[in-house]
Amino acid sequence: MNYTLRINGRTHTVDVDADTPLLWVLRDEVDLKGTKFGCGIGICGACVVHLDGQPVRSCLTAVSAVGGKAVTTIEGIGATPIGARLQQAWVEVDVVQCGYCQAGQIMSAAALLAKNKSPSDDDIIGAMDGNLCRCGTYARITQAIKQAAKTDLGAATSKKGA
């Protein structure tokens, strides 16, 4: 079956089985390797992408269910102000150990900050508890999200001031 997908603002046509998870379409058909395979049953969060801005588990999302929704992956999230701030904060806070989960973490965090400009610790747990970090970088993940959120508030304030 042919499916036409809008991924990170570009159109891709792929010929795959209808039940192929979006994860494997991204990784093996479109060659976007940033989205990671961790569990295959939607409980580790390594494969989180956005469909029309909503976070989904791409390992459980069949390609046939994507339709015309805009797919955003870790390779594309940097084009959004929130995504760019998160990526910068992740580097500045030096979050990464092995790094394998971090794409999924950043995608979940981007969805959180899009809804909530100044999340509390509980808000962060609510949005991020489904993302496993086997290395245990949780303190820094939380710190980086808060730093990215602050940068946003800072930008908003200075804009107002100007």
Binding site: V16, D17, D19, T20, P21, W24, D28, E29, D31, L32, K33, G34, T35, K36, F37, G38, C39, G40, I41, I43, C44, A46, T73, I74, E75, G78, L86, Q87, W90, V91, E92, D94, V95, V96, Q97, C98, G99, Y100, C101, Q102, A103, I106, I124, I125, M128, D129, N131, L132, C133, R134, C135, G136, T137, Y138, A139, R140, I141, T142
Partner: protein, 735 residues
């Protein structure tokens, strides 16, 4: 044997060789070899003669490219080893670029991510590489300017001559420097530590800017032109073999190119029997597996189970140990005369490693040669395994080291590497083998379960005078299975006058292996919990009790460089201070626990404050960790991250994790049945380091072991309930 090896710590031997040559395209290429500790030595096994090597390239544009030789599994080694060279070379970190090495022990020596061994083995050699290069660059400048070497200084990748105001970049001097004779590594002058500009200063992970953008770097991201994708179904029972399979059906499924039986052998660490399915896409291979029907010869291990092991352990626990590991004084006599005797049985389960990147490997095998892309912690045994199994000359095997999505010891084994190579050879095309999470969880080399039967005796003054420990573990013929042993020098050995450690072994067909802080990840829980029990029985403060037990500063026989009681005591004292131990008023069902432990050359004391809810749920409020890993914390940002991660890993093991064997196979399939710690379970962790006079040591492992008993001791302080079995059963903690 151990001591002879340890003489290499912090120093280089007389066989050190430094080679310098002109680099292609101009500049200077420096390589450096010396015999180093092999992985086998690091794991306490026989010494192998290995060499160590590092490359530095200085190009005319003054960019310094350093080859990072060890596998990066998240421990930060890719950034850290080059920091040592760069500081002594006296360049700015912004001038430095890093290259990933191929696996090649002849050039690079030990290339292993394991045992927290890189820091102690590389600390001096890497700095000498940088310092020697700096000396040659100065020599080249002095020659050019016709001035004395001693009048020249360096900084930010330049040689400067103060008197004349001249300066040249290293890039401009490198070609001339490469023609100079090589300085003797032992007489090369190292910096005064107060002049370090990179060592001891936080350097963020070199690859992080690419990781956060999702660039392909991991083994699973490998693409080779023309490659197909494979899944490999092994027998769920360890050691089982394929009797027959519906290959005709599976081979005709959409996208499937090959389906075949792999005979395999009898070695659980090598190529095992199974069915390979090779398809145009991984998803189609995996879908075809759902239609695969295999009749297995399950073999004898099908009779084994966690319950059966527990019954055997209980029976063995009633008898004297089959073998004595240590026997000091007169334990039976001392227990007979003790004012108070405490008896306890401890148990911990099998554990999986479950790194987040499932096992995978890409291989191309043709014309007697193999090229392999592998997320491995330990490439050289993989090369031997592939050579042996496929009948290849090991010189014809190229191994590319990829970034590794978590190791934890799992990827010290190379079973997935030989599977990929075998399947690629048989399929006649490059193949990427990717395991599912279920494959990964059910075909691991597990942290072995264990049982400990303990008796402790106190005299009338509350002094610990007797300790008897019977460890029931796995093995046969008097030999422990991998990572199932107990070191006879573990504290409180040497500090209790009447002490015996003995062991009995249960034969098993369950593959076991090293998990982060092998042995210690379980043993610290047992030793440090029972010491806590004895302190409470003596009516003493557990932290003070342990300080008194450690006693005066002495070097006791022990693993690595031996156990320095004063270092353990100092981290404990500091933990008392930073945690406010004994000075804080805590709410009901909230308590503080402490543990101290020496492993992998590092000393850690940890204090946990935990609250236990009325339903038994455990909330960790705060953790204080104090480490002594020697004179320098090379990269403080990475060090703090590693300590926090190691402690949370320990909490995950204590709170969440258990692998159950039933009918010779693993019950758990995925993270729902076996979960690493989640964010909602994490706690703030304050990390402190004591700088001591000792040579720096590693951090991958030593923060983990004390985390478990510090937590369970805190639970005791909060509830009066002693946790003697892992994982923690919260049902036992209800108010």
């Amino acid at each position: 044997m151990a001591n002879r090896l340890l003489s290499n710590y912090g120093g280089t031997s007389r066989r050190d060789v430094l080679k310098v040559s002109a680099a292609v395209g101009g500049g200077m290429l420096i390589s450096f070899t010396l015999p180093a500790l092999s992985r086998a030595a690091a794991m306490g096994e026989a010494a192998g003669a290995a060499t160590l090597n590092a490359y530095v390239k200085i190009s005319p544009d003054n960019i310094v490219t350093i080859t990072s030789k060890n596998p990066e599994i998240g421990q930060g080694i890719k950034t850290m080893l080059p920091m040592l060279i760069a500081d002594e070379l006296d360049v700015d970190w912004s001038q430095v670029r890093l290259d990933e090495a191929l696996a090649n022990s002849e050039i690079y020596g030990r290339q292993v991510a394991g045992g927290s061994m890189a820091t102690p083995t590389e600390w001096t050699p890497m700095r000498r590489v940088g310092a020697a290069a700096r000396q040659m660059l100065i020599g080249a400048a002095a020659q050019k300017w016709k001035v004395a070497v001693v009048e020249c200084e360096t900084g930010s990748g330049e040689v400067r001559h103060k008197a004349s105001g001249r300066s040249e970049t290293y890039g401009a001097l490198a070609s001339a420097a490469a023609k100079l004779s090589v300085p003797d590594l032992h007489s090369v002058k190292l910096k005064d530590p107060k002049d370090y500009k990179i060592i001891g200063h936080s350097v963020p992970g070199y690859d992080s800017p690419r990781i956060v953008k999702g660039e392909p770097m991991f083994g699973i991201d490998t693409v080779v032109p023309g490659m197909l994708y494979a899944v490999f179904q092994k027998c769920p029972v360890f050691g089982g073999k394929v009797a027959n399979a519906n290959l005709d059906t599976v081979g005709k499924l959409p996208g499937v190119r090959h389906a075949f039986v792999v005979e395999g052998g009898g070695d659980l660490t090598g190529l095992m029997s199974g069915v390979a399915i090779v398809a145009e896409s991984w998803w189609r291979a995996e879908k075809a597996r759902a239609k695969l029907e295999v009749k297995w010869d399950e073999g004898a291990t099908a009779q084994q189970s966690s319950d059966g092991f527990a019954q055997q352990a209980a029976a063995l626990g009633l008898k004297p140990p089959q073998m004595s590991l240590r026997n000091d004084g007169d334990v039976a006599g001392a227990l007979g005369n003790a004012a108070k005797v405490v008896e306890a049985a401890y148990h911990y389960p099998f554990l999986a490693h479950a790194p987040l990147e499932p096992m995978n490997c890409t291989a191309r095998v043709a014309d007697g040669k193999a090229e392999i892309w592998a997320p491995t912690q330990n490439p050289e045994p993989g090369r031997s395994l592939v050579a042996r199994t496929l009948g290849l000359d090991s010189g014809n095997i190229t191994i590319h080291l990829t970034r590794v999505g978590g190791g934890f010891g799992r990827r010290l084994m190379n079973d997935y590497m030989v599977e990929a190579a075998w399947i690629a050879k048989k399929a006649g095309v490059p193949v990427k083998l990717v395991w599912t999470r279920q494959d990964d969880m059910q075909h691991d080399f597990y942290r072995p379960a264990g049982w400990h039967f303990l008796k402790g005796g106190l005299d009338a003054g509350g002094k610990l005078i007797a300790w008897q420990q019977h460890f029931v573990s796995f093995g046969h013929g008097g030999r422990f299975q991998s990572s199932a042993n107990l070191d006879e020098n573990i504290f409180p050995a040497g500090r209790v006058p009447n002490l015996s450690y003995g062991a009995s072994l249960i034969p098993s067909g369950i593959p076991t292996g090293p998990l982060r802080a092998p042995g210690d990840n379980a043993l610290a829980f047992v030793f440090q919990s029972f010491i806590d029990e004895m302190a409470h029985a003596a009516g003493k403060d557990p932290l003070q009790f342990q300080i008194e037990l450690l006693g005066k500063d002495e070097l006791l026989p022990g693993r690595g460089q031996g156990f320095r009681t004063g270092r353990a005591r100092a981290v404990l004292e500091k933990a008392r201070e930073v945690s406010g131990w004994g000075t804080r008023t805590l709410p009901a069902r909230t308590g503080m626990g402490v543990a101290v432990y020496y492993s992998h050359l590092g000393y850690f004391a940890e204090v946990v404050e935990a609250a236990v809810g009325n339903a038994g749920e455990v909330k960790i409020n705060h953790v204080w960790a104090v480490g002594d890993i020697g004179s320098h914390v090379i990269n403080p940002t990475a060090a703090e991250n590693m300590v926090q991660g190691g402690i949370l890993d320990g909490f995950g093991e204590a709170l969440n994790q258990k692998i159950i064997i039933r009918n010779g196979r693993v019950v758990q399939e995925n993270f729902d049945g076996f979960s690493p710690l989640r964010l909602s379970q994490a706690a703030p962790i304050e990390v402190h380091f004591l700088a001591t006079k000792y040579s720096p040591t590693g951090l991958g492992e030593p923060p983990l072991p004390p985390a478990l008993p510090a937590l369970t001791n805190a639970i005791f302080a909060a509830t009066g309930k002693r946790i003697r079995t892992l994982p923690i059963d919260t049902a036992l903690l209800k108010a």
